[in-house]
């Protein structure tokens, strides 16, 4: 059995009496691709906020491999090896695509250690590889603000890949994409499988079927089912939670 890459131990948060996420415990193994599923308001994004340090949890703990990262600052958690992609793609819009990736590729993270010119050739090669992987080689010198929505999403994925995190959290990586763009995103994510541990929040069931191994279903801030697609789809609690909409589409 592979090592535990991301361990959530009774994680939860309460916003003035309202428990948005409650007692979430799960272990994501190294190299696994885990999909987080749930209706709007189930607490998927809040859970990602709790893991990545954007929101401070009020209960439970988070471990990245052996290191506890509960409620640390975002940049500390990021340096520990956690990457996050946001639901609304965020990139450095006034920089060219290549310079976006170079930012993520900086060999160190401090001010003074970066007071030097240029990048090691290995770093440059890595950036070119990621441009290739995300299909942005042609657009490498374009300003990021001028990219299409799909390209912006891929660029943000590229930032994370260059950053080389151990665990990647992807919040709806196909939101707003056309079918063709979604397929390409699935290809990129599949290419990452094995090299990184991935946690993906997604609504698009076609996409989930294309990439998923294990699925965790959240409902009203709690885990109600966990397992492969067949297991989750036939789970009575999942059926109950989705009864109004006739099951998962």
């Amino acid at each position: 059995m592979a090592a535990a890459a991301l361990t959530l131990d009774g994680l939860g948060v309460e916003f003035s009496g309202f428990k948005a996420v409650s007692k979430v415990s799960t272990v994501i193994e190294e190299g696994e691709l885990r999909v987080l599923l749930g209706a709007n308001g189930a607490g998927k994004t809040t859970l990602m906020d709790l893991i990545s340090g954007r929101t401070r949890s009020t209960e439970g703990r988070v471990f990245l491999f052996d290191r506890e990262i509960t409620n640390r600052e975002e940049f500390v958690i990021a340096r520990a090896g956690l990457g996050r992609k946001f639901q609304i793609p965020s990139v450095f819009k006034d920089l060219s695509v290549r310079r976006n990736l170079l930012v993520a590729a900086c060999p160190s993270r401090g001010v003074f250690s970066n007071l030097r010119f240029g990048f090691p050739s290995a770093t440059r090669d890595r950036v070119e590889d990621v441009l290739e992987l995300t299909g942005l080689t042609e657009a490498a010198d374009d300003i990021a603000a001028n990219l299409s929505h799909g390209q912006t999403q891929w660029l943000e994925l590229g930032l994370l890949i260059v950053q080389q995190p151990k665990v990647l959290l992807l919040d709806e990586p196909t939101a707003g994409m056309t079918a063709a763009e979604t397929q390409k995103t699935a290809r990129i994510i599949k290419a990452l499988r094995g090299r990184h541990t991935l946690v993906v929040v997604e609504h698009d069931m076609a996409f989930v079927r294309a990439i998923a191994e294990r699925i965790t279903v959240l409902h009203l801030g709690q885990i109600i089912a966990e397992g492969d697609i067949a297991h989750v789809e036939s789970h009575p609690k999942v059926k109950e939670a989705y009864l109004g909409s006739g099951g998962i589409h």
């Binding site: 940049f75 450095f92 006034d94 001010v111 010198d141 374009d142 943000e156």
Partner: protein, 379 residues
């Protein structure tokens, strides 16, 4: 890309050659004047660094300029003949006699309640050093608080604006320490060995021109480093940078402090050129004027912002001294500002950039069109 870099390097070289060659053409009256404008050019560089590159619109840059100016002026005041006349061991600024406590010892230590603060300024090197160190430390301390608290955008502008007015008020209200509203006048000259930096001397002009060249090239190199690249990333999306593992406030604080240091140097040079320091340096209108210089010159270009500051000041002087325009020059300058903001949102530097793009594109023999999307590339 490379031809653009070449053009940029040539523009910097040409500008620096011009300002260094000026003394062989101009008389001392004009040198003194141009020196003032070059000091304002440094302020343009400082604003560009914080506004254009760090995304911090500082509406109180006059704070750092003013503190730099006062630190230097305190030393030069003590070096002035007007301070040497007292029958005491230490020089005492003339205004302190007028503000002296009744029966106080006529020494710098105790003639007024806070006059002891002036004691170290008897060394002109102390004043010089403090003119750079004080603004830098204040900016670093402010940045550490403000940026850690993730205050951004218009709120920083408001904080800086309030702060510069607060310090201005403190200076005006502490007459026995600062000579209040009157500022520090009748200053001596900075002297190194036998070299006197008289305000009309070529030495002073060269000091200003070299300082401007160094800060211009230094700032340009600084934003070219990887840290400079990260800074621009922080400007575009601080949150994204944070999640890539960058401690955002350290980058903001560092460059904010560099910007303050440049403004401090500008302040100390201005005192040497103009021979006075005044609370008007911390007037709100002055700080806002600096931002306008940078906007007209191009806030994303260090050289552009610098040239913007110099050109506007030349224009103002030229027009205000022309008989026919004595009444209307302010209105004309206002119209120029509005026109620039409306039609040249990236300022004069943006205009130069577009012209360069148009030229290189026409010359490019490649049959494949350059994608339209790349035409917005910044300088």
């Amino acid at each position: 890309m490379t031809s653009r870099r070449l053009f940029e390097a040539a523009a910097y070289a040409l500008f620096i050659a011009l300002i260094l060659a000026a003394p062989s053409v101009l008389g001392e009256f004009w040198l003194n004047r141009i020196a003032k404008y070059l000091v304002f050019g440094m302020l343009g560089v400082a604003i560009c660094l914080s506004w254009g590159y760090a995304g911090i619109l500082n509406l109180g840059q006059g704070l750092f300029f003013g503190i730099g100016a006062y630190m230097m002026a305190m030393s030069l005041k003590l070096a002035s003949t007007t301070s040497q006349q007292a029958a005491s061991d230490t020089p005492i600024p003339d205004f302190m006699f007028w503000n002296a406590e009744p029966g106080a010892d006529q020494e710098l230590c105790c003639i007024t309640k806070s006059s002891f603060l002036w004691i170290p300024f008897q060394s002109e090197w102390f004043g010089l050093a403090m003119a750079v160190i004080a603004p830098t430390l204040i900016a670093a301390g402010l940045g550490a608080i403000v940026f850690r608290k993730r205050i951004s955008g218009v709120f920083i502008s408001i904080i800086m604006l309030a702060l510069v007015l607060l310090v201005r008020l403190l200076i005006i209200n502490n007459q026995p320490l600062t000579n209040g509203f009157n500022g520090l006048t009748d200053l001596g000259s900075f002297t190194v060995g036998g070299l006197v930096f008289d305000n009309f001397s070529k030495a002073t002009y060269y000091a200003v021109a070299v300082a401007l060249s160094v800060s211009l090239i230094g700032a340009r190199l600084l934003v070219e480093t990887r840290a400079g690249l990260v800074l621009q990333a922080v400007r575009d999306d601080a949150n994204r940078a944070r999640y890539l593992g960058f401690d955002v406030p350290t980058f903001q604080t560092f460059f904010f402090s560099v910007s303050a240091a440049i403004a401090g140097v500008a302040g100390l040079l201005y005192v040497n050129v103009a021979q006075f320091a005044s609370p008007t340096f911390m007037d709100l209108s002055f700080s806002i004027t600096m931002v306008v210089w940078a906007a007209v010159g191009g806030r994303n270009s260090l050289l552009g912002a610098c040239i913007g500051a110099i050109l506007i000041n030349m224009m103002e002087a030229g027009m205000s001294e022309t008989q026919a325009l004595v009444e209307s020059w302010r209105a004309i300058i206002g119209v120029v500002f509005i026109a620039v903001v409306l039609f040249l949102p990236r300022g004069l530097a943006g205009l130069a950039d577009d012209l360069l793009n148009a030229l290189t594109r026409r010359r490019a023999p490649s049959p494949v069109d350059i994608p339209v999307t790349s035409s917005r590339g910044g300088a």
